[in-house]
């Protein structure tokens, strides 16, 4: 019996992935643990390992295939000594359906047991009654939608029950999904057609959207459309920070750590959040969710977009620990090796464009978080201090707040606290 290689669930929430690359050829001998393919999920590229030994015999899903559902058979392997002809007769049954059948069988067998043991039909009937109740409840929740509409909703990460249907008997159809999504297909197509009609094909190239690009587009559009943003800006003097950084880095024997300004920013944000936990919160309709843990998402630029790996419990970590962890995460991000647990579930974000020479900017909140801090370049500026002109290293920071969660006074309190820590970094180490 050939061995089915299935699309693995690489994270608990993963429903589908893109098969970006096969790393073995048909006919290769494979040992369990060998890396056989690369799969791209919504945010990371991950490796697929062979689970059993055998001969890698038939590719079912070619590389470059998008949206392959979890548990779908993507290739077949033969056990040692198995004849290749057994592949011809094999029907590739996806695991999901097999599981269903298995469950059905189990249910039937359980019922049989009841009959034989208790020799009465009452328990069966009662179990049927409960089944029916469950079915009725399911029916009430059921959304009537065309198969195409369902799939489009799934791909757009859209809760189809929010879409009102205009098809027969209120059925949700393709057009309803398109108009719910602001009719992007139609309007984009029109714009594109208009653009294309004015430009010859030599004047542009079409760059297909990666999964990451699609997620960025979707999440950030949603953020700007749904979240009432407002912005608070402060200038921070970082002369103290720079000299402390120099001092600490000089103590780093055999390169154990090398602190960056950003590491101080992460630490200062974490400490400020523990003083002003209201800023470490998310909006939901029923309640504001205030997080006890302080997990900071840091925006990291990649060639194809950006990703936000998370420093967990940053308030409990020292500068060196934060710094080293950050370097590790950036390395992983650059090599597409981040695991979902590396980038999921942050409670507050930092975006730092100082290294690009940006003086100040306002960032888009990373939902469901309630705020994000945009950090500009630290640079020498002329300032007025005690009635006299002087020079100081200034770094401008802007906090974008979700007004549903964070009011102006709360955001200001957080920024003031942050400024105190960043301007007197020794204080946050106490």
């Amino acid at each position: 019996m050939p061995i089915s290689v299935k699309m693995p669930a690489l994270s608990p929430t993963m429903e589908e992935g893109s098969l970006t690359k096969w790393l073995v050829k048909e006919g290769d001998n494979v040992v369990a643990g060998d890396i056989i393919a690369e799969v791209e999920t919504d945010k990371a590229t991950m490796e697929v390992e062979a689970v059993e030994d055998g001969v890698f015999s038939k590719i079912i899903v070619p590389e470059g295939t998008n949206s392959v559902p979890v548990n779908k058979v993507i290739a077949l392997m033969l056990e040692e000594g198995e004849d290749k002809s057994s592949l011809d007769n094999l029907e590739t049954i996806d695991d999901s359906s097999q599981e269903d059948t298995a469950i059905d069988k189990a249910v039937i067998e359980n019922k049989k047991e009841i009959i034989s043991e208790e020799k009465t039909e009452i328990p069966i009937e009662s179990s049927l009654v409960t089944d029916n109740v469950i079915n009725i409840e399911n029916d009430l929740k059921r959304v009537i939608a065309s198969p195409l509409a369902k799939r489009m909703a799934l791909q757009a990460n859209l809760d189809i029950s929010k879409v009102s249907g205009t098809g027969p008997r209120g059925r949700v159809i393709k057009n309803d999904i398109l108009s719910f999504l602001g009719n992007p297909k139609v309007s984009e197509k029109n714009l594109n057609e208009e653009f294309l009609s004015k430009n010859s094909s030599e004047n542009f190239v079409k760059i297909p959207n990666s999964n990451m690009r699609k997620i960025i587009a979707e999440r950030l559009s949603q953020s700007k459309q749904e979240i009432p943003h407002f912005y608070l800006t402060v200038d921070c003097e970082i002369d103290e920070l720079l000299s402390l950084r120099k001092d600490l880095n000089s103590r780093s024997k055999d390169g154990r750590f090398k602190l960056s300004i950003n590491d101080f920013v992460i630490s200062a944000v974490a400490q400020a959040l523990s003083k002003v936990p209201e800023t470490n919160s998310s909006w939901s309709k029923e309640s504001i969710i205030q997080y006890k843990n302080i997990d900071i998402s840091i925006a990291v630029a990649l060639d194809e977009g950006l990703i936000t790996p998370v420093i967990r419990d940053a308030n409990q970590k020292g500068l060196a620990e934060i710094s080293n962890e950050m370097k590790d995460l950036v390395d992983k991000a650059n090599n597409n090796k981040l695991m979902p647990e590396d980038y999921k579930g942050g409670t507050f974000s930092i975006s730092n464009l100082g290294m690009y020479g940006i003086k100040e900017f306002a960032a888009v909140i990373n939902p469901p978080q309630g705020a994000i801090l945009a950090v500009g370049k630290g640079e020498e500026r002329a300032i007025v201090k005690d009635g006299a002109l002087s020079i100081a290293n200034i770094m401008t920071c802007t906090l974008s707040c979700d007004h549903r969660v964070v009011d102006g006074a709360v955001g200001s309190k957080f920024l003031t606290q942050f400024k105190e820590f960043i301007e007197d970094p020794v204080s946050m180490m106490l």
Partner: protein, 467 residues
């Protein structure tokens, strides 16, 4: 003027658009009359879809008998009787027009015979011989249909140069026929006359026959037709026809090269134009015309209040089933039914009853690519289908085109025996917005030709079993 009558709705024309509109309106409680100058049923029942299918059935049967040896049966010296073939086709028409007369009566539609014209916003005048009657209505639907187009330099004369109507009523068989135009009408006549052993030549100005079909279908059809003895000349226009004593000389131009060929008869099948003349619309500034058709909105309103237009009169595809659907939508709009949806033109199947048949719905592969869709294409040959082999009908294929990411069925294209009876499966799939998964999960009966519809979808996603 003899009498005045007040109706809720007057329908001018009793073809598939007109009679369906009249019946539907009456069913919805409107006092309705339908005005028709000839027989009800329009071109479709009298001079189009139905009688040609009767003719083509005779041709198919004869074709089958010619090749009956392969089924282990021998028939010596099979013959046909042209007069009987034509008469049968007329009988079939008559039976169906009688059926429509009955349906109009049953639904209490007043059928008014005569030539009608709009004379005012709510007025139609109908000429009945020497009489003229005036009818009044709250609403008027124009459904006067279309006719075959002439070329600038070539017009049908019904003797040597035939239009579709003449081609349906041959008194004797010509020895050779030139068919100008390779759309559905031209190709159906080509199959008919070719089966009856007439030397048939089809000339097409575009670079392929059946130009609205998928490129693969055009190519495949060309090869089969050629094999069956039809001459096919593409990228060629007929410049002029000279009628001689015993034949017709056709001057044809292919890429700057001119040639002259002789034929017994010519059939003109170069398209359709709306019957917009002499129906009174010139008095209405707000009723606009474009390219021989009346311009209407998605609910068939002309620019003039309470005057609607449907069917071939408003443009293509010139198909009875499209006209009938327009009729329903238009009447529902008149009675202000809630939630009416405009007709989705990309969900209208098209059928050509050539030998073999062609059927399609939605976009061709080239159209899908031009629109920027990323697509998956599946193709399954008759050669690999058990039923087709058992029937000894192994020529043809079923091709399907899906949008890669959503699995939306964008188009389906078939050529082969009986495919016109298969295409509705994909029509339903498209209309209910089935994805490839739903079609894959559908159980198709074995052994049938329909299994190819399943396999074509599987093939598009590299899952075909039987190829």
């Amino acid at each position: 003027m003899v009498k005045k009558n007040l109706y809720d709705l007057l329908v001018l024309g009793g073809g598939p658009a007109g009679y369906v509109a009249a019946i539907k309106a009456s069913q919805l409680g409107l006092k309705t009359a339908c005005i028709e100058k000839e027989n009800v049923g329009g071109i479709c029942l009298n001079w189009g879809c139905i009688p040609t299918k009767a003719l083509l059935k005779s041709a198919e049967v004869f074709e089958l008998i010619k090749n009956v040896d392969k089924y282990g049966i021998s028939i010596e010296n099979p013959k046909f009787n042209l007069e009987k073939i034509v008469n049968r086709s007329r009988e079939v028409s008559k039976k169906l027009t009688n059926g429509v007369n009955y349906l109009l009566k049953k639904n209490k539609v007043d059928l008014i015979k005569g030539y009608g014209k709009i004379a005012g916003k709510n007025t139609l005048v109908v000429e009945q011989g020497n009489n003229t009657i005036e009818l009044k209505a709250k609403n008027i639907i124009l459904a006067t249909g279309a006719r075959s187009r002439n070329l600038k330099n070539i017009k049908s004369d019904s003797v040597n140069i035939w239009n579709y109507k003449d081609a349906m009523l041959p008194k004797s068989l010509p020895s050779s026929i030139l068919i100008i135009g390779s759309g559905a009408i031209g190709i159906e006549f080509a199959s008919f006359y070719n089966a009856l052993n007439v030397d048939v030549t089809v000339v097409e100005i575009q670079n392929r026959i059946l130009p609205v079909e998928d490129e693969d279908v055009s190519e495949f059809a060309k090869n089969i037709f050629k094999k069956s003895g039809i001459n096919i000349i593409c990228e060629t226009s007929v410049e002029s026809l000279k009628i001689n004593k015993s034949n017709i000389s056709a001057t044809m131009i292919t890429k700057n090269n001119s040639s002259i060929k002789e034929f017994d008869k010519v059939i003109l099948a170069v398209g359709i134009q709306g019957n917009i003349e002499n129906i009174g619309i010139d008095k209405f500034e707000k009723i606009k015309v474009n390219n021989g058709h009346i311009i209407v909105d998605e609910f068939y309103r002309t620019g003039e209040d309470n005057i609607y237009a449907i069917g071939d009169l408003v443009g293509g595809p010139w198909l009875a089933h499209k006209a009938m659907h327009e009729a329903i939508i238009c009447v529902e709009k008149i009675v202000n039914k809630k939630g009416i949806k405009p007709l989705n033109l990309s969900n209208i199947p098209g059928c050509t009853y050539s030998i073999p048949q062609v059927a399609s719905i939605g976009m061709t592969e080239a159209q899908a690519k031009n629109k920027g869709y990323s697509i998956k294409v599946g193709k399954f040959p008759f050669k690999a289908n058990g039923k087709a082999i058992a029937l000894s009908e192994e020529e043809g294929f079923v091709k399907t085109i899906f949008e890669a990411s959503t699995g939306e069925l964008l188009g389906a294209h078939m050529i082969g025996v009986d495919v016109t009876e298969l295409i509705q499966g994909y029509s339903i799939a498209k209309n209910i917005e089935a994805t490839e998964e739903d079609i894959m999960n559908t159980v198709f009966p074995h052994p049938t030709l329909s299994e190819m519809m399943h396999e074509s979808v599987l093939e598009a996603f590299n899952k075909a079993i039987h190829v």
